[in-house]
């Protein structure tokens, strides 16, 4: 899977690239408008991360150009502006999703995975992780072909874990992903929620969730 990170803040761009490479993506980075247009014109990407404010031009112009050339690269806008207008304009211009800064890399990774899944035209919406099998369209999960009876949030959590497999995910990232931006303060309830999911996975011998002391959780088979 090939991803282009268009982001003028070098340190942030590096972080994103490092994280995504760990998720087995092939990543390229562009830090200004001209480099970005050059790359988008020459190559096809599965997903493009697009910052709106760029030195040399507006990121939305790149998006327009892409869609005008009938390119179907997935586009995820990442912006510091978090303005409704930008979001609406971006989505009408054909962006697939919008993520406002600051974001969790795990959230970014999950969004990219979702975009790539949606872009795949072979009709496959099945994700495998060892003996776990997730159908993202039917929103069902099974272990060794035995259906898991998950709540909506538990399903989303499992999908989030698998999108960020073998990575440590903080409790904040999980809370924000599942319950939205309004979550603040005490996050102890997440523990209960994860415990419930683990119990269901354990019954089918598929509990890959590891608690990482002090930091969060990790979904790993190693």
């Amino acid at each position: 899977m090939k991803i282009l990170v268009i982001e003028d803040e070098k340190t942030l761009s590096e972080s994103i690239v490092t994280y995504l490479k760990g998720q087995d993506y092939v990543c390229e980075a562009a830090t200004d408008f001209n480099t970005a247009t050059e790359k988008t014109e020459l190559y096809d990407y599965d997903c493009i991360l697009l910052d709106i404010t760029l030195p040399g031009g507006n990121g939305l112009a790149i998006l327009k150009e892409l869609r005008a050339n009938n390119k179907t690269d997935g586009v995820l806008i990442i912006s510091a502006k978090n303005s409704i207008d930008d979001k609406v304009t971006g989505l009408t211009l054909g962006a697939d999703d919008y993520l406002s800064k600051p974001f969790h890399l795990s959230e970014l990774s999950a969004r990219i995975a979702a975009i790539i899944r949606r872009k795949k035209f072979d009709g496959s919406s099945i994700i495998h992780f060892n003996n776990i099998c997730i159908d993202t369209q039917a929103k069902t999960a099974a272990v060794n072909n035995i259906n898991l009876d998950l709540t909506k949030k538990e399903f989303e959590l499992l999908l989030y874990f698998i999108s960020n497999k073998r990575r440590v995910i903080s409790k904040n990232a999980i809370a924000q992903h599942l319950w939205g931006d309004e979550m603040e303060g005490n996050l102890d309830f997440i523990y209960t929620h994860i415990k419930n999911l683990r119990k269901k996975l354990q019954e089918l011998d598929a509990d890959y969730i590891k608690s990482v002391y002090g930091m969060g959780y990790k979904f790993t088979d190693s």
Binding site: E9, K81, K101, V168
Partner: protein, 420 residues
């Protein structure tokens, strides 16, 4: 008291007083002058009688006219003191007493002593005084009427530019960015007032805009470094072989960074509401939004074992911005969960006019209305940001909703009254 009525009161009082005093003075002076004239006539008459006696050596005929009467009376007194007096003479014809002036003197005619009295009616004088007083009174009344009309119509019209300016100042609202429209006035004072007000309001608007854009820019600028910190932290978390203490440090940094990010987001949201970025309105189904958020927070209810009861009119539609509605509802609901107790309860009531959210929770230490202020939290150590309710209040203000908080029967009650 209105300046106008105060001025009127003083003005009318002074006018009436001056007219009254001068009227009384006028009356007496006039009377004095007229009586003086009457007395002169009496003396003239006396001279005529004396001249007649000197010429003819007998008394002239006694005369009795309506306004003048001359009478003679033989007397033994040698000398009656010559004097003029005021008397009331009874007129049998008209059956009334007439105020008169009378001159009495003695004169010797043919060796006999006569007392002569000449009486002149004051009737005409009185009539004249009465007429003059009446005219004066009429003038006073006319003057008062004119003053009243002037005050009523002319002064009101004169004050019109002032009243316009005042209503413009009253309607002046920093957040709607509308500059004041002050009419040009030809009156110097009002012109100066308008100039001063315009200058002041423009300066205030400029300062306010500068402050707002500063807040918004500052918040935006903070987003990028925050994003960098967050991302590096997440990468750092992927490393292994941390000591327990190092992990604790990372967790603290992670928690505080998230908090800072949320704080910044909330401030940005407040600024954006202030900047009128959520003004497009549509018919929003409040019930649907409430149900959506209740479902979303299901696990949070469960974690605290909170019992939720609701009485929701599913057809509740409010004309407002949808994003704002989402933020409003999610804030009041999370607020009710966050500040609840274990095994507590939440009651949500929604009808066409209002949304009432009741929740159990520890008694507040702060004054209730301060809850809606920024960064006011009941418990200083709580992990809450203290911005949730001020965002709710801001949204309510923008939409002209009335919002209130009170505590009764161990329930915290937040009430949002929609104006439909």
């Amino acid at each position: 008291m209105k300046l106008l009525s105060k001025y009127n009161r003083v003005n009318i009082l002074a006018t009436v007083l001056v007219l009254l005093v001068s009227g009384i003075g006028y009356y007496f002076i006039l009377k004095f002058v007229l009586i003086n004239q009457l007395d002169k006539d009496l003396k003239l008459e006396e001279q005529e009688v004396k001249d007649y006696i000197k010429l003819n050596n007998n008394l002239p005929n006694a005369a009795n006219y309506k306004d003048q009467k001359v009478a003679y009376e033989q007397t033994n007194e040698t000398i009656v003191k010559r004097k003029i007096i005021s008397i009331d003479v009874f007129n049998a014809d008209e059956n009334e007493t007439i105020p008169s002036r009378q001159l009495n003197f003695t004169i010797i005619v043919a060796g006999k002593n006569y007392k002569v009295s000449i009486t002149k009616s004051q009737q005409e004088t009185e009539d004249m005084v009465q007429l003059i007083v009446s005219i004066t009174l009429i003038i006073v009344l006319v003057l008062l009427l004119v003053l009243f009309i002037i005050n009523r119509f002319v002064l009101n019209k004169l004050w019109l530019p002032f009243n316009n300016t005042l209503s413009e100042i009253q309607q002046f609202n920093l957040s709607n960015k509308k500059t004041m429209r002050l009419d040009n006035s030809s009156i110097t004072e009002f012109k100066e007032l308008n100039n001063a007000v315009t200058t002041m309001s423009n300066r205030v608007l400029k300062d306010y805009d500068a402050l707002k854009s500063f807040t918004e820019n500052a918040s935006h600028e903070i987003q990028t470094p925050l994003a960098v910190i967050n991302s590096k932290l997440e990468l750092l978390m992927q490393s292994e072989n941390f000591t327990e203490l190092q992990m604790q440090y990372i967790q603290t940094i992670n928690g505080e960074t998230s908090r800072l990010a949320k704080l910044n987001q909330s401030l940005l949201l407040l600024t954006k509401i202030d900047n009128q970025q959520f003004t497009t309105t549509e018919e929003v189904n409040i019930a649907a939004i409430i149900n959506k958020h209740i479902n979303n927070y299901e696990e949070l209810f469960a974690a605290k074992q909170i019992t939720l009861t609701k009485n929701i009119n599913e057809q509740t539609i409010v004309l407002m911005n949808e994003t704002m509605a989402e933020v409003l509802i999610s804030n009041v609901i999370t607020n009710a969960i966050k500040h609840n107790i274990e095994k507590g309860s939440i009651n949500i009531e929604l009808n066409k006019n209002e949304l009432i959210i009741k929740n159990t929770g520890p008694v507040l230490n702060t004054v209730p209305h301060q809850l809606f202020e920024r960064f006011k939290k009941d418990n200083v150590n709580s992990e809450s940001l203290g911005l949730g309710l001020s965002i709710v209040k801001k949204i309510a203000e923008q939409n002209h909703f009335t919002i209130s908080y009170n505590y009764s029967n161990s329930f915290h009650i937040v009430r949002v009254l929609f104006t439909i």
